[in-house]
Amino acid sequence: MNNDREELLKIALAGAIGEFSTNRAAILELAFASGGQEAVQKLESEYDVLRDAYFEILKRQLDRNNHLYGQLIKAANEEVENLKTSIKQVNNINDIIQLISTVINLVGRILIVLGI
């Protein structure tokens, strides 16, 4: 079903649901008068089917975007990995300074041992 037709169906369903909702009790009274509780239950079931159809359209419309969410999840996940790398790189400066300090300390000890 193309999107325009789906939208038209959605509008039609919303209209029918709205019409029933605003006259619910009166419609059910008429059904009861003509066919008792059985007719009321049948009408309720039909109304439920209308609502189910409407909600099904909404679900379908949401489902159509699922692949985009899949891409977003992937993109956000990649960004997490890139951020981890960047955090490591920023911290690398500290690792280098720490390494230089260690080397200088080592050189100092060697000089002491050698008595230079």
Partner: protein, 289 residues
């Protein structure tokens, strides 16, 4: 010496901007975390609508049945949107995680640690008796100079990632706005239909005496008491729906402001006021709950 002064001045200028970038980046990251969490919370609220809708439908079927004594207990099939909602919650959880790492990137601890290590480096060097100690001026500036290098490198990274977040939040925002109409249609069905159907319930189905046990209405006319009760019920339902609709609008606006803040933060020369304005908008919307 001339070059050292020039480099120091240059680094000082870069550093002032860099520290601000880190500060604004940190604020943006925190707001990003809050907005992501707000979106997740809203999806959780939407997932609860299925149960609410089922309960309302069952209730209204009893209240509008012409002869409830002969009806079977209603058991309306719930409208399950959990599959759709779960996918979206995962996407916002992933965004939240990305913001947590972005906040880490903006942390001052890296440059502060550099300054600290700069001091240790100088002490190690001075401890070498065979070498002349660093001149006092150089020694006092070594730590802060190294700190500025880290700040500049950190600011560069923050800007790069901010650009990615700008594009990312832009797509999140577009999708949010696109789906807002669908969720609004869903809420219309859940709440507007319930209100309309409750309006059709006959007044005889209500007991004014019972209502007065629950509410303190200053009226004696039973019809008035029942009407006031019905008004009260309707207002509650309207308020509940309104809260969800406003949250749907707010999250959309916040995502847009987040995207703007990131865009401004990624610019070569940042306009602090623009970023602060976007963050302020988000703060106000977060308070609106």
């Amino acid at each position: 010496m001339k070059y050292v002064i020039k480099i120091t001045v240059f680094l000082f200028m870069v550093s002032c901007g860099s520290a601000k970038v880190a500060e604004l980046g940190s604020e943006t990251a925190k707001k990003g975390e809050e907005v992501s969490q707000r979106a997740i919370d809203l999806y959780r609220s939407l997932s609860k609508q299925s149960e609410i809708e089922k309960a309302q439908r069952d209730r209204v079927k009893i209240l509008t049945n012409p002869n409830p004594a002969s009806m079977t207990i209603p058991d309306t099939k719930p409208q399950d949107f959990s599959e759709q909602i779960e996918k979206r919650i995962i996407a916002y959880r992933q965004l939240l995680e990305a913001y947590e790492y972005f906040e880490q990137l903006t942390d001052k601890k890296y440059s502060e640690k550099t300054e600290e290590l700069g001091g240790a480096l100088q002490e190690s060097y001075n401890a070498l008796e065979q070498l002349p100690d660093l001149p006092d001026e150089a020694a006092s500036k070594l730590g802060s100079l190294l700190k500025k290098i880290t700040e500049a490198s950190q600011a560069k990274k923050i800007k790069e990632h901010s650009l990615v977040f700008h594009h990312l939040t832009e797509v999140y925002h577009i999708l949010w706005e696109k789906e807002k109409a669908i969720w609004n249609a869903y809420l219309d069905r859940v709440y507007d239909d319930y209100i309309a159907e409750l309006n059709t319930v006959k007044s005889q189905r209500y007991d004014a005496k019972k209502i007065l046990e629950l509410y303190d209405f200053p009226y004696s006319d039973e019809a008035v008491i029942i009407l006031f009760y019905r008004l009260e019920q309707r207002e509650k339902i309207v308020a509940h729906k309104k809260e969800l609709v406003e949250q749907l609008n707010d999250v959309g606006e916040m995502l847009q402001e987040l995207s703007t803040a990131h865009e401004k933060l990624a610019e070569k020369k940042i306009t602090v006021s623009d970023i602060l304005q976007a963050l302020k908008e988000i703060e106000n919307l977060l308070k609106d709950e």
